[in-house]
């Protein structure tokens, strides 16, 4: 392994990085233009794809929506930090989280066939309880904002690490690119560009890894170098990987799919017959992406890459660092960057669409029930702008990448059990839902700070589950789930009512 020299590739200039961002955006924009002309005619097409997403686009879209910058970069980072135990604990719960959503998405689609959003379900489920609705609207918007922030942070990280570009400039360009095509096509744009991105996550990853292994000295050299370091790096049984991040991440991943508007909107947008099989195939065929890209972490271990002196203290940079320092041809480096960028873009456009549907269905429509279709279509695009501006502001302030991910997971974990209870247990009340969520955050977050990720997450889950169960058992409330079937389609407008903006 000593013969492998890691050195900077001088041909990787900042403008190549920025141009890659823009060219990928132009490619996706061309696809979205076709989609806009052929498929997007009104608000219903924009926010829920007219419930006409089939098996193919369902699977391809879901794989890419679930492939965050995390799956691309953190699979390598956790392998680099914990060996194969890190890859195991990162990968296995990831795919399982998509498959585990099946009973919930199937249930919601059966109970509420014309639904759009989680807050819409919660409001009907709890008889218009404004506090419950408000908490979930805030949670959904916050969750989507966090997803945009995390993934735009991923964009800036890879562009700055590989090409030496200004991370703030890279983040702004990335946000602008996704904002433009998302505004054109809404959910159809998100699903079709994500389907294309799934191709970009897989075939290029395989080619890049074959080349990277060659430049790293070959599989034998890498493998024996890692094996010689001991520390169970080639075993999946290291307990510190499970306790260090694995269990917390697994819980957070389950929350992200089961309580994530990005997944519920796809569940409502799929053709009814395709819901379960699309989620199953997406979860199963997502697995190869982190399994393949995690190998970069193994190469990092094999080459004795130093986290402090070479990665700036951030293990997430191991993939971009190796790709740009192994001596790979420039076209392969750009291909890797496109893998990461496409992962980031597909999550961001999905999050933009989630904010759009929540804003239209849970804020604008209740305030102006007689709003015209034309006005509603206009307002569907407004929250995308605001989300982009807020995300830009946060990213420009420069917050730690991994901390953002784990904090957002902890907060979302608080909503998981109350939401599941609302879906399956008729005695769950609005105040049980609100009390469970708020108390879990109020008590669980300080425990998380004091006792660590694992105990914090378990406390949040326990409190958020116990409170609604106790309140439900103390009362005599029983919800008739049949009422959910009769909810009117929220984007179908009747008469026109002027808006203040007019």
């Amino acid at each position: 392994m000593n013969s492998v020299q890691l050195s900077t590739n001088e041909s990787l200039t900042p403008w190549i990085g920025i141009t890659s961002e823009i060219l990928l955006g132009v490619l996706l924009l061309a696809l979205v233009y076709y989609v806009k002309v052929k498929l997007v005619r009104n608000t219903k097409d924009f926010v829920i794809a007219n419930r006409k997403i089939g098996f193919g686009f369902g699977v391809a879209g879901l794989i890419s929506i679930w492939t965050w910058a995390m799956a691309v970069m953190m699979s390598a980072a956790q392998t680099y930090s914990f060996g194969l135990s890190g890859l195991f604990w990162f990968t296995v719960p990831n795919g399982l989280a998509v498959i585990a959503a099946i009973p919930f998405v199937r249930k919601i689609r059966t109970l509420m066939p014309d639904g759009y959003t989680i807050p819409e379900f919660v409001k009907v489920r709890f008889d218009g309880n404004a506090v419950a609705g408000g908490v979930v609207v805030l949670g959904a918007l916050f969750g989507s904002l966090i997803e945009v922030i995390i993934n735009i942070k991923g964009t800036s990280l890879v562009i700055s690490n590989v090409f030496g570009a200004d991370p703030r400039f890279a983040a702004i360009i990335g946000l602008l690119v996704v904002l433009i095509y998302s505004i054109l096509g809404g959910l159809w744009a998100s699903i079709t560009t994500s389907a294309l991105s799934t191709l970009l996550h897989t075939v290029p990853s395989a080619i890049i890894l074959v080349a990277a292994l060659h430049y790293a000295g070959g599989v034998n050299s890498v493998w024996h170098s890692v094996a010689a370091q001991g520390n169970d790096l080639l075993s999946v049984t290291r307990p510190d990987a499970a306790t260090g991040f694995g269990i917390t991440l697994a819980l957070g991943l389950l929350t992200a799919t089961i309580a994530g508007q990005e997944f519920w909107q796809v569940a409502w947008a799929l053709k009814k017959k395709d819901v379960s099989r699309s989620f199953f195939w997406a979860g199963a065929w997502f697995y190869p992406i982190p399994i393949c890209l995690g190998l970069l972490g193994l190469i990092g271990l094999g080459l004795h890459v130093n986290v402090n002196t070479q990665l700036g203290g951030d293990a997430a940079a191991v993939g971009p660092y190796l790709i740009s320092h192994l001596g790979l041809p420039t076209w392969l480096v750009i291909l890797y960057v496109i893998v990461v960028l496409s992962a980031c873009y597909s999550v961001i456009d999905s999050a933009f669409t989630a904010t759009s549907s929540v804003f239209v269905v849970d804020i604008i429509k209740p305030l102006f029930p007689k709003i015209s279709e034309k006005q509603l279509f206009f307002w569907a695009k407004v929250p995308m702008f605001f989300t982009a501006i807020l995300a830009a502001a946060v990213v420009l302030s420069g917050v730690d990448f991994v901390t953002i991910v784990l904090t957002s997971y902890a907060i979302r974990t608080a909503i998981l059990i109350p939401l599941v209870l609302a879906l399956f247990w008729s005695r769950t009340t609005g105040w049980g839902f609100v009390g469970g969520t708020i108390l879990a955050i109020a008590i669980g977050m300080p425990i998380r700070s004091a006792a660590g990720e694992l105990w914090g997450s378990l406390s949040i889950l326990a409190i958020s589950g116990l409170v609604p169960i106790i309140i439900g058992l103390l009362g005599s409330f029983r919800f008739d789930f049949e009422r959910l079937r009769h909810i009117k389609d929220a984007t179908v407008s009747s008469e026109s009512e002027p808006l203040p903006a007019d």
Partner: protein, 102 residues
């Protein structure tokens, strides 16, 4: 073989990748065209009848775990991850074909 294509193995991966990409884009395009023509068709009313999610989940988890465990068994097994990354878009091509035939 210090060429732009890195090595013969890389060249082979590129060749397979090009074939997969061709079929992926072809079927994606065909489905997209079909969706644009059937956008206003009423729902066929079929229910969500997929019944294999539980057993399928177990198989998927076991298979992915075995792939990662295999990395630690011998150097050659490292190529499993690369093969799986090429298999994933083939699976998606199959789903596009199924959608076309539905």
């Amino acid at each position: 073989m210090p060429t732009i294509f890195v090595s013969l193995t890389t060249l082979a991966a590129i060749g397979i990748g090009i074939v997969i990409t061709f079929f992926y884009l072809r079927y994606m395009w065909l489905v997209l065209q079909r969706v644009s023509k059937t956008l206003d068709d009423p729902d066929d009313g079929k229910s969500d009848g997929f019944a294999y999610s539980f057993i399928g989940a177990i198989i998927a988890v076991i298979a992915s775990s075995l792939a990662i465990i295999a990395y630690g068994v011998a150097p050659q097994f490292i190529y499993i991850g690369i093969a799986l990354a090429l298999a994933s878009p083939i699976a998606v091509i199959y789903t596009f074909r199924r959608e076309l035939n539905d």
